[in-house]
Symmetry: C2
């Protein structure tokens, strides 16, 4: 495969609630921020890849372009559940790899109002839990996945809860996260139970948000003098195989392990080479599973890993330094590009109070049930 | 750009009404037909690109895989209005060009029940027309576009109607078209007026349908002994620039002309080299415009072209030999791949009663308002 691909501009809006804003206007805001970051304008872009789930049939990418200047460039709208933004990013990456384009804009955007069933959040009230809705809900799926880990390896409620304490702490250092509130263990464990062992504060936060990235070829990067450019060293996408297991219970681990294997192979590195990871902590239990799925520790060691603070900023392998989905927030279509923003910002050494020392290689991971798992690896120049 | 790309399997279901079938089951049926045509199975596929508009947020590609066998392969769901299927096909083409995959399945599928406002059809009853719904409806947009052509070049109601007579005649020769009914000029002109000058029989037919294609690299094609393989010599995608005109009236022509220019350049051919064209006759007026937009005749000559039978099977440049959207039917997400089926079937010399003599080069064109225009060019081996 020819053509190395670089991120030369990337940004996100501060995640929050914007009832008076449209999806395209939120997408356009992130796009303009990312273009500014690259020192380019929409006229320089050769294509737009847009990720949005809730309005996936409504030409969101084209409407983003209407907000910031129609140039006649190709627009591709992608949808892939929680991997929607990452899929748009990946398709942009593929198009540059193919030599079809030199410089491409990828935008992810979502308004989550009315999407209460998908996750959690501090202000959520009266959300039905597993008992009411049956086993098909997201909280139920990830509650059960945590319980399975618990039965197998003795992982405790407290260990799962510590994931949320960590990510909430991280987000106090990230001004673009939804929340900047330290959330101690007793508060996390004492919050309303959604689907055991995940309390309300162990569920991802439903917010509105957007993120965007400018990707380009190596040649274009050199033309532009991309001293802040970050190389995309791997992209992998997989889907699930429900038929191998209980049909009522999707397997979130197998497709992550397969994507991780493919990504490490493509990047020519292993989990031991990573300086930070932004992984899909849609629930606290999910983060525990993915430590092992991504090879950050051995199978059954995730409880120990969180106990010993290894995933904390300053630890062996900081995970979700941005605050993660649990506290930065999880606007579905935006998430896959927002974590590209976090990793690139870290690799550029521009992450301020939450900077990971000497960060050189970072990994992003998202997984959408239904299903799609996307992993990208990034390396500093 | 490296890596030539070939279609080694392609098929569609007979378009119709399938109230008891799900979208994934219709998609799976076309996928299995295309795999059979290629002599391959789902286990041979390295990725699935799926085009569906109406359920674009609901993981249609993954649900197609659930129907025919989950293999863990990457799935990308694309949506781009009427260019949805063509966009999925193009993304598959790009991925092979990039060398990411060697062999990929592209599926387009749509159920159009309840989508009455988008088009026409023989059985349609009580559809509100422009006067009731204002100028933003599809019939209004393409009625007005036809009237503009009429004012500029003197194109007549009868000329527009002849497009529909031609395409209905073509579809009598295509067993997979929705209708096989000769429809004489007086019947077309005398049908219920939807938005002048398009009567009900000059509007595309809302049907359920699916189509699929297997794309592969040159190396893979040679391995498989692809004597029936068809080369994809160009793919172009553009979007609109409404700001250049009246904001209430999208310009369907500019983006088609830009896509055509790019496609001819990439394919190294011109309109004079084409043996057949499947273009986006969502309304009879649209076909007239696109003769000129695609360079099949000079500006203002489309009326003469239809009068002289040049676009008829056996004419100078047969257009919509499949029956087109006007009589084969227009299941949005499927259309862009269904016209790939028609062109490849013709280039393979397998089109039976509707075979275009010595067909060597064919072009497909779709345009979705909102907007996306996709053009592909195909050449016989």
């Amino acid at each position: 495969m020819a053509n190395d691909v670089y991120v030369i501009g990337v940004d996100m809006i501060k995640f929050g609630k914007f009832p008076d804003r449209t999806v395209p206007s939120l997408g356009a805001e992130a796009a303009l921020l990312a273009l500014d970051d690259a020192g380019l304008t929409i006229q320089d872009m050769q294509a737009l890849y847009c990720g949005n789930l809730m309005e996936a049939n409504a030409m969101v990418g084209q409407r983003v372009l209407q907000e910031i200047g129609q140039t006649g460039i190709p627009v591709v709208n992608c949808a892939n559940a929680c991997a929607t933004g990452a899929t748009a990013f990946r398709e942009a990456w593929i198009a540059i790899k193919a030599g079809i384009y030199d410089v491409v804009l990828a935008v992810g955007v979502e308004k989550m109002a009315g999407a209460g069933l998908l996750g959690g959040g501090r202000k959520r009230k009266g959300i039905p839990t597993e008992g009411l809705l049956g086993s098909g809900t997201m909280p139920a799926v990830f509650g059960e996945a945590g319980m399975e880990h618990s039965r197998k390896y003795g992982t405790t409620f407290e260990q799962f809860a510590k994931v949320s304490v960590k990510n909430h702490h991280h987000s106090t250092l990230n001004p673009k996260a939804r929340y900047q509130i330290e959330t101690p263990l007793d508060e996390v464990m004492g919050a309303e139970m959604i689907a055991y062992p995940n309390t309300k504060l162990m569920c991802s936060v439903n917010v509105d948000g957007s993120a965007a990235a400018v990707l380009c070829s190596e040649e274009k990067m050199r033309q532009l003098g991309g001293s802040r450019a970050v190389k995309v060293t791997a992209s992998a996408l997989t889907s699930d195989r429900w038929t191998e297991r209980d049909l009522t219970m999707p397997d979130v681990s197998t497709c992550t392990r397969e994507a991780a294997k493919a990504a490490y192979e493509m990047a020519g590195c292993g989990p031991e080479d990573l300086d930070l990871v932004e992984l899909h902590d849609c629930f606290a239990t999910a983060e525990i599973l993915h430590y092992e799925n991504l090879g950050l520790c051995g199978d059954g060691e995730a409880g120990r890993m969180i106990n010993e603070g290894e995933a904390q900023l300053g630890g062996r392998i900081p995970v979700n330094v941005s605050g993660g989905l649990l506290s930065k927030g999880h606007p579905l279509g935006a998430t896959g590009i927002a974590n590209v923003y976090e990793v690139c910002t870290q690799l550029r050494g521009e992450a301020g109070a939450r900077q990971v020392d000497d960060a050189r290689i970072g990994l992003t991971h998202v997984i959408g049930l239904g299903s799609a798992c996307a992993i990208h690896v990034f390396e500093k120049q």
